[in-house]
């Protein structure tokens, strides 16, 4: 079980209704269903992943989050989860707006481009960083809009999006990120997990 999923699960109360956007093979949905009795739904583009979810008895809709979120009514879920895909959308702002419309609150996780190893790679080697959380090279990466934890903080302030909680993840360690420790956590977190809305 990925640390990230554990953090996401801890942010979500039991017995709620959750939409997992980009749900992959359904691992997170399964975990949420089993551990927290959460009523899950998934949206996933990849056919093989969709089949895996169906085989596990997890409700999943095959579709593209960029263009097909309109099918979910306003406030139809307690929470919407978006795990490490915000940066891959053409229009992440529009997607976020939609997620906030569908869910009463939204959990968004991002690979942190402000992580020190990422910064070092660019600063000292002059190359686009390739790390465990960012495994692709510049020409084949699906990531179009990389950002840092600080960037997403700023974005939420500018767009008047309420930040409820932010958790930084580095390997097995997690920490709460606040305005006061933002600079340092932005340097030492591989992932940022935001609870907003």
């Amino acid at each position: 079980m990925k640390k990230e999923f554990k953090v996401i699960a801890e942010l979500l109360p039991n017995n709620t209704r959750v939409l997992d956007v980009g749900c992959g093979d359904g691992s997170l949905m399964n975990f949420l269903k089993e551990e927290k009795n959460i009523e899950v739904r998934g949206l996933e583009l990849n056919q093989e992943n969709v089949q895996q979810c169906i085989r596990k008895g997890l409700p999943v809709i095959q579709g593209n989050a960029e263009t097909e979120l309109h099918q979910f009514p306003d406030q139809s879920f307690d929470y919407v989860v978006l795990s490490q895909t915000l940066q891959a959308f053409y229009n992440p702002e529009e997607v976020l707006k939609n997620l906030l419309r569908i869910g009463k609150a939204v959990v968004v996780s991002i690979p942190n481009f402000g992580y020190w190893k990422v910064r070092m790679k660019l600063l000292f080697f002059g190359e686009m960083p390739v790390t465990k959380t960012l495994p692709n090279t510049w020409y084949n990466t699906p990531n179009l809009h990389m950002c840092t934890i600080k960037d997403l903080f700023k974005f939420c302030y500018e767009k008047n999006i309420n930040i409820k909680q932010v958790v930084g993840v580095n390997e097995d360690k997690t920490s709460l990120i606040k305005k006061s420790n933002l600079e340092i956590k932005n340097l030492f977190s591989k992932l940022g997990i935001f609870l907003i809305g």
């Binding site: 739904r41 056919q47 089949q51 169906i54 999943v60 579709g63 099918q71 139809s76």
Partner: protein
């Protein structure tokens, strides 16, 4: 080779021996008329288990019948969904109890226009009442009652079968634990009504049809019916699929004949499909069943709201569409998903990428069959657990 009329007569005799129930309860049809004491023919595969939690109801499409798999005893041909249903198949008859009934209006043993009208002891012909998808579904619900099945593990169907399924779920919520509508629509589109009208006009233009009175003369308007079937066959394929399968290939000849014989393979294919069909299907049944499809509009039944139709559904849905299907498009299938979502129903959706058009659901499409199997098996586990609790 027996004559066509003889063959038809011989087939009608075989139909006498197939499974059917007589539904005594009066059924008030949407058109206002009532039918009672009418036959509903059906077939079952596999065994109903002790807990009665392994029953799957399949609704057939326009030209289908109750013989889903194995050998159809009337035509001696393979069942129409042998790719998906049978021992070890996606819908495994070693594990599940599969039921399929011939729709009313059809011609494989259920009450239809070739049956005798008790009022004048002549075949109904056009005196047969116009039926709807809802009428078909209500009749089949009586069969479930007869078989003692309170709740189905799953109900499924493609094309018109999918339309019956949507109607079934809306009319009898909670009768199915899960449902798989395949390549269908919640209301018949203008294009589909137009194609059905083409089929009907072809039949009606055949002088043998004689206002539907051909039955008492033991003949079939085979030319009209064959054309009707050809129209259908074109619509079941995709442009790309047809091009790949036939292209401009000639039928067993080196060059054009400079005649109107079937020079091209695609022509020969259509003629074969058209004339093979007249041996097993009644022309008037095509008129009645296509009409039922055209009248199908689930949102109209629920005052314009498809969401309303699916309200309070506990059924778990899996909607499947095929990318190259231009008869029941991905868009139409997605509209069903959106409505189910909006009503809060448990819904999954998958679009199978294929060039094989609407026909895909009847073919050996591995991704489709895998999805079907995955869903049915996982639903069985859930249903068993739910019953235990």
């Amino acid at each position: 080779m027996p004559s066509l009329a003889g063959l038809f007569f011989w087939m009608n005799r075989k139909i006498e021996n197939i499974n059917k129930i007589i539904i005594t309860k009066p059924l008030k049809l949407d058109c206002g008329k009532t039918i009672k004491n009418f036959p509903l023919a059906y077939e079952t595969y596999g065994k109903l288990n002790e807990n009665k939690d392994n029953a799957i109801l399949i609704f057939h499409a326009l030209t289908g019948d109750q013989f889903v798999t194995g050998t159809n005893p009337v035509t001696n041909k393979e069942g129409w969904w042998v790719t998906a249903v049978g021992p070890g198949k996606a819908i495994d008859t070693d594990k599940y109890f599969v039921i399929c009934a011939n729709v009313i209006g059809g011609c494989m043993g259920s009450l239809g226009p070739k049956n005798t009208n008790p009022e004048n002891n002549k075949p109904y012909g056009l005196d047969f009442p116009v039926i709807t998808i809802k009428d078909m579904v209500k009749a089949q619900e009586s069969l479930l009652e007869h078989l003692g099945i309170k709740k189905l593990l799953c109900a499924t169907g493609g094309s018109m079968g999918g339309m019956q399924l949507l109607q079934f779920c809306a009319t009898f919520p909670d009768k199915a634990f899960s449902a798989i509508p395949i390549a269908c629509s919640s209301s018949h589109s203008a294009q589909n009504i137009a194609l059905n009208e083409l089929a009907r006009q072809a039949i009606m233009a055949d002088p043998v049809w004689d206002n539907g009175k051909y039955v008492s003369k033991n003949v079939q308007p085979k030319n009209g019916l064959a054309v009707a079937r050809m129209v259908g066959h074109i619509s079941y394929l995709s442009e790309k699929g047809m091009q790949e399968k036939f292209g401009r290939k000639l039928q067993e000849k080196a060059d054009y004949e400079f005649s109107f014989n079937a020079d091209f393979q695609v022509e020969s294919y259509l003629r074969h499909q058209g004339y093979a069909f007249v041996e097993r299907f009644d022309a008037n049944s095509i008129l009645y069943i296509t009409r039922a499809m055209d009248y199908f509009d689930l949102s109209k039944q629920f005052n314009g709201g498809l969401v309303e139709a699916f309200k309070n559904q506990n059924t778990k849905f899996l909607v499947i569409s095929f990318s190259s299907d231009w008869l029941y498009t991905t868009k139409e299938n997605k509209d069903i998903v959106i409505a189910l979502n909006s009503s809060g129903a448990d819904v999954s959706y998958s679009e199978i990428i294929t060039d094989k058009g609407h026909d895909s659901f009847l073919l050996n499409e591995p991704e489709f069959l895998k999805t079907l199997k995955g869903f049915v098996d996982s639903m069985y586990e859930k249903f068993k657990n739910e019953k235990r609790i």
